[in-house]
């Protein structure tokens, strides 16, 4: 049996109240909220968070043979972003890692290719969506990531069996963006609605027929596409029960583009029962339909952190901050020198520390060293250390400080001296926090973030954030 072994959806901590847009500009916005990636997040870091959740939700020992990363808003071109995820997840060097980039359709394409293929594949999709202030894209879209571990039962118990897929492809100009542009342009929405209808119908019927299913046997159906009007229209014509249609999280998260299919599939699996047929319908320059049936294994499936919990555990972001984080409003920078670019060769030497947050532990004294050291602080043993992976270790804030003068893309900086569970201490920068609510004794966990960008080099490292939504 081939299918999905585990899933992880990542929704950033911040929300924009769409009503704030019209209050500021007199137009735009709408009801509900959209998710907002923090200033220190990009598609790579969000992808890492989703992938970490998927791997933590997988049966112990389940690891991928390859990692495929798909996004329409890559942090780098030319450079393989999947390699950064590979490093952050501390995968073995013989695990391959590939980017599927550019188009909104790349996310569902990577997932289908993995399901139709062999081996264990970690699919990671991530997207950061926006548009000009007051645009429909600004309010209706969202940021997020979805990761799915695909494989056979031999790789780990499959929780959703892959029943087959069908696609329909046609060239038409409905939504487009050239490299370097931060806004998408769209043709009249009604045109897309007319084009998508027959394509979805063709793919849907073909997929059902191949799986020997009828529409009324589909218990949950996910329909997603950036053209919301088209997605709504086709949803009503699939022949499934009304209650089968999955909440597409448009009222809280917004549409996370190339990541949204995997995000919604993770969300759906987190509340699914054994034996349910799940249909996934994606509208992106064509139509793709994937069918799954949940297995008995899903009854004991324990997601590391659900999408629902992340939707509940959010905090609002003022619209002005949103605009500055997205580069739509340029604020006076802190009067401190901007950081220098990082060194490629130093980062190469310290890959385990920088990307995977691995310290070292002295074998004799047990003393933890972060960053890793050769000579122990306690006992002075030389070169007698073992790796100490700390990315998934939680800690407690021993001391706190708010730095109003340090350089940050979004000051002030909150810093905490963290005592790790199991021993050891490190001062670390905090993120996803409102400084006023922090206290000594708060529990924190690590998250992979982008500290700054200099000379077009993104400086990735780890920060701490309060433990939420477990």
């Amino acid at each position: 049996m081939r299918g999905i072994i585990s899933a992880g959806g990542y929704v950033p901590f911040r929300r924009l109240q769409r009503a704030e847009i019209a209050k500021t500009f007199g137009s735009g916005g709408g009801k509900g909220t959209r998710s907002v990636a923090s200033y220190d997040e990009d598609t790579t870091t969000m992808g890492v968070e989703a992938a970490r959740l998927a791997l933590r939700s997988a049966p112990s020992g389940a690891t991928p043979d390859t990692l495929w990363f798909a996004t329409a808003t890559p942090a780098y071109l030319d450079k393989n972003n999947a390699s950064t995820l590979h490093a952050a997840l501390r995968l073995d060097t013989d695990v391959s890692a590939f980017d599927f980039g550019g188009a909104l359709r790349s996310g569902i394409g990577a997932l289908r290719a993995a399901l139709d293929g062999a081996n264990s594949v970690l699919i990671v999709t991530s997207d950061l969506r926006g548009g000009l202030p007051t645009s429909g894209d600004e309010s209706a879209s969202g940021d997020g990531a979805g990761a799915l571990l695909v494989g056979d039962d031999s790789n780990g118990a499959v929780i959703a069996e892959y029943l087959g897929a069908a696609s329909a492809t046609e060239e038409f100009l409905e939504r487009w963006r050239t490299p370097g542009s931060t806004r998408s342009r769209v043709w009249e929405e009604r045109f897309g609605e007319v084009k998508y209808g027959p394509l979805v119908e063709q793919a849907w019927n073909a997929a059902l027929k191949a799986a020997e299913l009828s529409a009324d046997q589909v218990a949950r159906v996910i329909v997603t596409g950036m053209n919301a009007r088209a997605a709504r229209a086709v949803s009503a014509r699939l022949g499934t029960a009304k209650e089968a249609l999955v909440d597409d999280r448009s009222a809280t998260v917004g549409n996370s583009g190339s990541a949204h299919a995997a995000l919604l599939l993770a969300d759906t699996l987190e509340s699914a029962q054994p034996g349910q047929v799940i249909g996934l319908v994606v509208l992106a320059d064509g139509a793709d339909v994937l069918l799954f049936r949940t297995t008995d294994a899903i009854a004991s499936y324990a997601p590391a952190r659900t999408v629902a919990a992340q939707i509940d555990g959010a905090a609002d972001l003022p619209y002005g901050k949103f605009l500055s984080w997205r580069g739509e409003a340029r604020l006076e920078p802190p009067r401190r020198p901007e950081p220098d670019r990082i060194s490629a060769s130093v980062s190469g030497r310290t890959e385990e520390w920088k990307y995977a947050f691995v310290g070292s532990r002295d074998r004799g004294s047990g003393e933890l060293h972060m960053p890793p050291a050769r000579i122990s602080r306690v006992g002075d043993a030389v070169d007698d250390m073992q790796p100490a992976p700390m990315a998934d270790v939680q800690g407690t804030i021993a001391l706190l400080t708010i730095d109003r003068i340090a350089y940050s893309p979004s000051p002030p900086v909150a810093f905490a001296v963290v005592d790790w569970d199991g021993g050891g201490r490190l001062p670390v920068e905090l993120t996803d926090v409102d400084a006023a609510t922090l206290q000594m004794g708060d529990r924190v966990e690590m998250t992979f973030r982008k500290l700054f960008t200099s000379d077009e080099i993104h400086n990735y490292f780890w920060k701490a954030r309060p433990v939420r939504g477990t």
């Binding site: 130093v346 972060m370 001391l399 400080t401 708010i402 920068e429 400086n459």
Partner: protein, 398 residues
């Protein structure tokens, strides 16, 4: 610590110190020339009489040529030293050891920093080593800010009490600095102004932080037996102690930010070298590194000026005021002078030089100058990871 010390083997026979402040019209070379010429004049010598030079600067130049060129030194050995904010003290220490060793008869230690050419407020760091970008980006202010809640929690002071104690330290240093023509900030500042100042980091306001400044200071060192050939009032070196920390504090869950172990170690070492058993009663004065007010509070306890957990009371009682039992920072400290990184350590010694020779102006004369011993303390770095230096100097042999 394995130091033997060089008590009474070398003496300072000349010193100079520029005004500290925003010297927009003076560059590094000007500051060096001004401090060096004043120091040569003080000792009654010329540059050719000096056998070897030690130049301390952390961010204003590289190599001994940064001094040899502006002073036009001919065939002289010049060593550039750097040890964070203790750089000038390091220059003094090495110059003193060179004379004590017998290698040279006359040496100069000179420290300089030209900070105000960066275009930014505050310090902007020294030479940049390529990194992997994972280093802590926290400012010194934020690091030292963590000492305040740590101390308050340990000794039962609430936020308001800690605020008053720290403000009282800043108030004292500004009171002293108002009486020093070389200081950058020469105004008394009220407790109310200090307490209500804008926050910089944690609970620290503007007046809890030392400013930055340009400046230079220098000293001439000779063998003790030669000292009276240059001056009737030499200042003898009693102790020089330095510790470069292993940066373990920030990794040690037992470290509570209420002490600086490196400072305590240099204090013990210096007192042993100088033969001091009761610093509070034997020292006439101390200049300590008041980069941030919590630093000065903890230093009192680390250098045994006050028992653990009691320094805050002593601060409020005025123990460390100009007329108190042990005046600390009678020249106004970093708070009044600002902090030209490579010069501050020698600026501290300059105050000891003035006070122990009876040359400080009447309005900031200390109460117990007759004790004849002064301490300078200079640190570089942060809580948990610092370089600490302590010197003891005295106006009599023995």
């Amino acid at each position: 610590m394995g130091s033997h010390g060089i008590k009474d083997r070398v003496a300072i026979v000349g010193m100079g110190c520029t005004n500290f402040g925003e010297q927009w019209n003076k560059g590094t070379d000007d500051l060096l020339v001004d401090a060096a010429e004043a120091t040569f004049a003080s000792a009654g010598i010329t540059k050719d009489d000096v056998d070897a030079y030690w130049l301390g600067t952390a961010m204003s130049g590289m190599s001994g040529m940064a001094l040899a060129r502006p002073l036009q030194l001919h065939d002289k050995p010049v060593t550039h030293v750097e040890n964070f904010c203790a750089t000038a003290s390091e220059a003094l220490r090495n110059a003193a050891y060179s004379v004590a060793s017998g290698a040279y008869d006359v040496a100069m230690a000179i420290g300089v920093e030209k900070v105000k050419d960066s275009g930014y407020q505050g310090l902007v760091g020294a030479a940049k080593t390529p990194t992997d970008g994972t280093g802590r980006t926290l400012t010194a202010a934020a690091m030292f800010a963590m000492c305040s809640p740590g101390y308050g929690k340990k000794y039962g002071l609430d936020d308001a009490q800690m605020r008053e104690v720290l403000a009282r330290i800043a108030w004292k240093n500004h009171y002293n600095g108002a009486r020093n023509p070389r200081a950058q900030f020469r105004k008394e500042v009220s407790m109310e102004t200090i307490c209500n100042a804008p926050l910089m980091a944690g609970g620290l306001g503007v007046y809890d932080c030392s400013g930055v400044a340009d400046g230079s200071a220098a000293a001439i060192i000779v063998r003790a037996e030669d000292a009276h050939r240059y001056t009737d009032k030499p200042i003898y070196v009693k102790a020089l102690s330095l510790v470069a920390g292993n940066c373990s504090g920030n990794a040690d869950p037992d470290y509570d930010y209420t002490t600086f172990p490196e400072i305590a170690a240099t204090g013990r070492d210096a007192y042993a070298q100088a033969g001091i058993t009761n610093p509070r009663e034997q020292l006439a004065m101390a200049e300590v590194h008041d980069c941030f007010t919590p630093a000065e509070l903890l230093i009192y306890e680390d250098l045994q000026f006050a028992d653990r957990g009691t320094a805050w009371k002593e601060v409020l009682d005025g123990t460390f005021d100009l007329g108190g039992a042990l005046p600390v920072n009678p020249d106004g400290g970093l708070k009044s002078f600002g902090h030209p990184v490579g010069a501050s350590g020698l600026r501290m010694v300059f105050e000891a030089w003035l006070q122990l020779r009876g040359e400080a102006p009447a309005e900031r004369t200390i109460a117990h100058a007759d004790r004849g011993l002064a301490l300078t303390h200079n640190l570089g770095g942060y809580p948990g990871e610092m370089v600490s230096f302590v010197s003891v100097v005295g106006n009599e042999l023995g």
